[in-house]
């Protein structure tokens, strides 16, 4: 046990002396937490609309002002013709072009029907869909207004309307930051844990100090604990730092118990550090450790449910997520922070992560034994 104490003393001394490492632990997460949530936003707004009004009538002008006062669209540069508008779309300066033909007002009144033309930049499918839906509904609304103006209200029977009220629970303002920040924090802690830990061990391999340790009475499990514990503490620290930033910069206060969060975190860190440990047993150089960790972390990240929901993934991808610790923690974070879920609700996830930690660490330790 004393041995462990000396190992830890050495590790902490080395960590605190390594300015660049300290920078990575403190500065990187802070910057990422401060910038990432602002950037990570899938809302569709400020759709750039180019209107070509060939009619210039009261009706057309009213319609145009209605479109822009809705708040969904912002006007693109002025266009005299549809061809101009098309060029704007090509250069990404407009998302939708709407052409109101000449004699719009006259034709509507006389022929009872009038077409308008919309060209939509569909490269971003979601934006195109949403933009089209918004614009179509504005057209519909405007249409009803005109009808009401012209027709006597009794002349046609009112249409039955199904009103849909939708409420959003746990995040009523649909604040993307509430949604992303907890997930980003998980991602940060995982990166730091796995990558730093594996790099640290492999560096000792590269320099040769590992061999020196192998020759002393230090037992393998002492050595491994001596590496896991400091990074476990760092992981806890970074998480706390992240929660603090979340609280004071974004106003995110966990609905559920912080104790539950930290409890899960402690087991999760063991799993993630175990991964780093495992990778270090398969790497001889820092570059290899980096490449391997990066490969797995990038893939795990994409498949974690942080950016796209797991339920939408095809079967084979979902199977991969069963083995992805990130997906479990992100789910727990959102459940506890936003919904106030309790220990009972996350039990299942906790159990799986625990198994993961045991498997990964055992595998790593067996690998270390063999190398002797």
């Amino acid at each position: 046990m004393r041995t462990l104490f000396f190992l830890l003393q050495k590790e902490f001394r080395q960590i605190f002396r390594n300015k660049s490492l300290l920078g990575q632990i403190l500065v990187a997460p802070t910057i990422q937490l401060l910038i990432l949530p602002w950037a990570a936003n899938y809302e569709v707004k400020n759709i750039s609309l180019a209107v070509i009004d060939n009619d210039h009538s009261t009706y057309s002008e009213k319609f145009v002002s209605k479109a822009f006062s809705s708040g969904y669209f912002k006007p693109a540069d002025y266009c005299a013709s549809f061809k101009d508008a098309y060029k704007l779309i090509e250069r990404d300066k407009a998302d939708i072009a709407l052409e109101i033909p000449a004699n719009f007002e006259k034709n509507l009144i006389r022929e009872n029907k009038q077409k308008v033309f919309m060209a939509v930049n569909a490269i971003n499918g979601v934006k195109a869909l949403v933009g089209t839906v918004y614009l179509s509904s504005i057209i519909n609304d405007y249409n009803s207004e005109i009808r009401l103006q012209w027709m006597q209200p009794q002349k046609f029977s009112p249409l039955p309307v199904i009103e849909i009220t939708s409420t959003n629970w746990f995040n009523p303002l649909l604040n993307y930051k509430f949604f992303m920040v907890p997930g980003i924090l998980v991602f940060l802690v995982t990166m730091l844990g796995a990558i730093m830990c594996s790099l640290n061990i492999v560096r000792e391999k590269e320099i040769g100090t590992i061999e020196q340790i192998n020759v002393t009475p230090v037992k393998k499990y002492h050595f491994i604990l001596g590496k896991l514990i400091p990074f476990w503490i760092i992981g806890m620290f970074v998480f706390t730092l992240g929660l603090t930033i979340a609280r004071f910069v974004y106003g995110i206060v966990p609905e559920g118990s912080i104790g539950v969060l930290y409890g899960f975190l402690s087991v999760y860190l063991l799993a993630v550090l175990g991964m780093g440990l495992l990778i270090s047993t398969y790497s001889d150089t820092q570059q290899q450790a980096m490449s391997l960790s990066f490969f797995f972390i990038m893939i795990f990240n994409l498949l974690s449910g942080l950016f796209t929901p797991i339920e939408s993934m095809p079967g084979w991808a979902q199977v991969i997520t069963w083995f992805n610790p990130l997906s479990y923690f992100i789910e727990v974070m959102r459940m506890v922070v936003l919904k106030g879920s309790g220990f009972h609700d996350i039990q299942h996830n906790l159990f799986i992560i625990f198994i993961f930690a045991v498997v990964v660490n055992t595998w790593a330790i067996l690998n270390y034994r063999k190398r002797a």
Binding site: F117, V126, I164, S283, L303, E311, M313, K339
Partner: protein
């Protein structure tokens, strides 16, 4: 020249003998394309929802049947209270609740108005929005069906044309993004780590003292990574054309040309980093912070730039990936020619020169 060739051979050995790193260099872009192309989507399938029907009449049944028929949802029919719904949300068992009040049909016939309530679990905003939208669309469609036989006077009919991507496939935007990311990974991170490693081992000094111009040393280091990047671009394009069914609309030579430019930009940044970094870990960390992170966040590939607050939008102009992203999108998807993208190309060239000049100035003094 022969000496240069020897150097280049040595660098190739370094790179290609390290199988684990190769796994990442070649495997990651392929893995990412497979994931983005086939696994990552916001579409909804088998979403678990609960339908609470207090009315149980003809109309509600028709609406519920229509929802079931859409195959997007996994429906549980039960009379849950609000508290129970909240519990189920917390347990993660359901994502949305659809509530029909009593006397739904009656209200519709006699009052001409009836209400449906949707409660969504917004802890996952994307899913909540999508599910809400899907259900609203189904209900609205049902309504339209009800009014099918009424002819409305004075109709404005929009004729809609979707450009570039008529089927509204989601994959387009990420391909240029993956290209940019992997090229930066290889050119910036790998190159700078390789140079710094020689610094750390002390072999850099030997190289610098040789009768070889130091610039040749660096050049020799670049070549394998340049080739790997080209290979990656090719494999990404092949996958996108044949596996994802996304043809390249524009000129392929122009595409390769711009890629070459971006590769050189990356190498220039890598050089700059390798000069300032003292350890491999710092080089790696520096590369991540300076290139990968901004590319992920601010280049417009994952998140739209116009949604970001002004300061971030301004910063995004300094990120080379943003310009590359625009260039590739224009060529691949819109079929644009050089005339359209010359401005962005010029900006990239400018950035590259900037990085190269600074690096070369600091080169000898710092690298030794």
């Amino acid at each position: 020249m022969k000496q240069l060739f020897t150097f280049i051979k040595k660098e190739f050995y370094h790179v290609f003998r390290d199988r684990k790193t190769l796994l990442m260099l070649f495997g990651l872009p392929i893995a990412q394309i497979v994931l983005f192309g086939f696994a990552l989507t916001n579409e909804i399938k088998n979403a678990k929802i609960v339908v609470v029907d207090y009315s149980k009449d003809v109309t509600t049944k028709q609406i519920i049947d229509k929802i079931e028929a859409s195959r997007y949802f996994d429906i549980e029919k039960s009379l849950m209270s609000h508290n129970e719904i909240e519990d189920k949300f917390k347990e993660g068992k359901i994502k949305l609740a659809l509530i029909f009040p009593e006397n739904f049909n009656n209200d519709l016939l006699h009052l001409n108005k009836a209400q449906i309530q949707i409660i969504a679990d917004a802890s996952d905003i994307n899913t909540a929005n999508t599910l809400t939208n899907y259900i609203s669309a189904i209900v609205t469609d049902y309504q339209r069906g009800m009014m099918k036989n009424m002819i409305l006077p004075m109709s404005i009919v929009p004729e809609i044309r979707m450009l570039y991507n008529p089927e509204l496939k989601g994959e387009h935007t990420f391909i240029p993004g993956i290209m940019a990311m992997i090229m930066l990974l290889v050119c910036v991170m790998m190159t700078s780590i390789s140079i710094v490693k020689e610094k750390e081992l002390g072999t850099m000094e030997i190289l610098l003292v040789s009768p070889f111009k130091p610039i040749m040393v660096i050049f020799a280091k670049f070549i394998p990574y340049l080739l790997i990047s080209f290979f990656n671009v090719t494999s990404i394009l092949l996958l996108s054309v044949y596996a994802l069914d996304l043809p390249i609309q524009g000129n392929i030579f122009l595409l390769y040309g711009e890629s070459l430019l971006f590769i050189v930009t990356g190498l220039a940044i890598g050089l700059l980093i390798s000069i300032s970094a003292e350890s491999q870990q710092t080089a790696m960390f520096g590369s991540l912070m300076a290139t990968m992170l901004p590319t992920l966040l601010l280049s417009g590939f994952m998140f739209p730039i116009e949604n970001m607050p002004m300061p971030l939008q301004i910063i995004s102009n300094v990120v080379p990936s943003k310009w590359f992203f625009i260039i590739v999108k224009s060529i691949m998807i819109k079929g644009a020619g050089f005339a359209t993208i010359w401005k962005e190309t010029l900006i990239l060239v400018g950035m590259t020169l900037f990085f190269l000049i600074i690096s070369l100035k600091n080169f000898k003094t710092r690298l030794a």
